[in-house]
């Protein structure tokens, strides 16, 4: 009997010792999808036959002594902006519902090469931007902790499927918070790696200069395992970094002694005030880090709105350019949220965009200076627990400055970590941010926190 909930690391151990078969594990996830996804809508397309074929291949390889590593035989899901050869990749949009790629995205190839089992294509906000939308060919994903509530986005399907145990991990993409937002509201671990660390090739773009691909899973350790498989230079991606890839899992030592953390408290207490439960949970997490041997001191940087504004402008302007032709000819084939936000983006001028990119340069320098004598910074990743769908407004991303966008602007590795639950059982979170290419330090701090606190032992009851 396969347990309802397993981490990638736990399942990998059982598979390696041949105490669990990849076929059994995959079938158990397909059974859970059949039983639960009618409530969650996390999948756009389930690839049952392909998944079972991959699982059987993994089983045969392992039986023949060719164990590939901790993703071998592990069921994963792909946000439906990751291109898959011969399988529709829609961006959750009517505009691309018939798009069938001729090749896998580079990161999908890497996940397949590592032996993982691709379970299907997961819901996203339309083209990783507009949502939650009820006027698209597929409904929006629902939060497994309370299905009347928002998952956040745009990696909404991955955010819903992982805590529900439908997959053990999945891919996300993050242009302004699209990994960290759903990770925060759905109570999982989500890493936006350093810009350029994972190839973007074969992933439908939202905004070229801000798009980051990354892992979402139950734990930081699982994110480390997925990052290991997907990171690396891709000469065909112009933004891909040619940088050494460390052993991310080996970095999870649990030792935080001497680690220097800067707490950007004004982001979430004055610039974009979070609710009391979130504030108290972040403050408690900072205290926990001190108990574990890290030093935490409050730091002040420019107000949050000054970080969010250039990021939003760059993101929306680049997205407008990508979708301009279809916006002109097929405006109402897009969902209302996506198209109305894009209509606003068209009102900015070319000079506005250039000012935003000049501002971006200054902010990258500012964070580098602020982190000169720090290893990490810490702040909020969401303003509250998951809201009800009816409380999410069409222009929500413009109304309050984003807590996650600053670190897309700077290209820094940033992770959302679950740090407790409200009295009604909804997840709370904080965000931990490193220097560029110090993703291993972010993962180490997140992993150590998860192991020192009880939050990873609770799952949604569905």
């Amino acid at each position: 009997m396969v347990p309802d909930f397993l981490t990638i690391a736990e399942a990998a151990k059982l598979i390696e010792k041949r105490e669990m078969s990849p076929v059994e594990l995959t079938q158990s996830r397909l059974d859970r999808i059949a039983k639960l996804d009618g409530k969650l809508h996390s999948f756009i397309r389930v690839l049952a036959d392909d998944a079972l074929a991959s699982a059987r291949a993994a089983e045969n390889e392992i039986a023949a002594g060719r164990y590939k590593g901790p993703l071998h035989g592990i069921p994963l899901g792909l946000k439906d902006i990751y291109e898959t050869k011969g399988i529709p990749t829609t961006g959750h949009s009517k505009v691309m519902q018939d798009h069938v790629p001729t090749a896998d995205a580079v990161s999908v190839t890497k996940l397949r090469d590592a032996g993982s089992v691709i379970m299907g294509k997961l819901a996203t906000h339309e083209f990783a931007f507009g949502g939650p939308s009820f006027d698209l060919p597929w409904p929006p994903a629902r939060n497994p902790w309370d299905t009347a509530r928002f998952t956040s986005g745009s990696s909404s399907g991955t955010g819903a499927a992982v805590p529900a145990g439908l997959v053990l991990g999945g891919t996300g993409s993050d242009t302004g918070g699209s990994i960290r937002g759903p990770a925060a509201l759905c109570g999982i671990a989500g890493l936006k790696p350093t810009y350029g660390l994972i190839s973007r090739r074969g992933i439908l773009p939202l905004a070229f200069s801000l798009d980051h691909a990354g892992p979402m899973a139950w734990t930081a350790e699982d994110c480390a395992i997925m990052l290991q498989a997907t990171a690396g230079h891709d000469p065909a991606d112009p933004a891909s970094a040619n940088h050494p890839i460390p052993d991310y899992r080996a970095a999870l030592t649990g030792d935080l002694k001497g680690l220097r953390i800067g707490l950007i408290r004004h982001f979430y207490t004055t610039d974009n005030e979070v609710n009391a439960a979130t504030r108290d949970a972040i403050d408690a997490a900072a205290k926990k880090y001190e108990e574990m041997g890290a030093s935490v001191r409050e730091i002040t940087v420019s107000p949050l709105a000054e970080w969010a504004a250039p990021g939003i402008m760059i993101m929306m302007a680049e997205a407008y350019a990508i979708h301009e032709a279809n916006l002109r000819t097929r405006f109402t084939d897009f969902g209302e949220i996506f198209r109305d936000r894009m209509a606003l983006a068209g009102l900015w001028t070319a000079a506005d965009y250039v000012h935003a990119t000049r501002c971006r340069r200054e902010l990258i320098d500012e964070l580098d200076r602020a982190m000169q004598d720090l290893d990490l910074v810490m702040t909020a990743s969401a303003v509250s627990e998951a809201p009800k769908f009816e409380d999410v407004s069409k222009f929500a991303i413009l109304e309050r400055p984003s807590l996650t966008m600053p670190f897309n602007v700077t290209g820094s590795p940033a992770m959302s970590v679950c740090c407790g639950f409200t009295e009604t059982g909804l997840p709370l979170s904080f965000q931990i941010v490193g220097k560029r290419f110090h993703d291993a330090t972010v993962l180490r701090a997140a992993d150590a926190y998860e192991r020192a606190t009880p939050w990873r032992s609770r799952r949604p009851s569905l």
Binding site: Y195, I312, R328, G346, D352, I364, E399, G411, R436, F437
Partner: protein, 58 residues
Amino acid sequence: MTRQELDAAFARLGLKVPEAERDGILGAVKYIEEMAALVKKPRAVGAEPAHTVAFPEK
């Protein structure tokens, strides 16, 4: 921005925005105007844009 200016902008952009959505968009114009104002700071003439983030040397 007035409603007439918004209609003219959409005509210039070639966007056929449904009538029922235009007032809602107009109500959000203030947010994008605020953002545009925020990024226009006094700068040296040679202040460079960020074409991409700077990578440290190996």
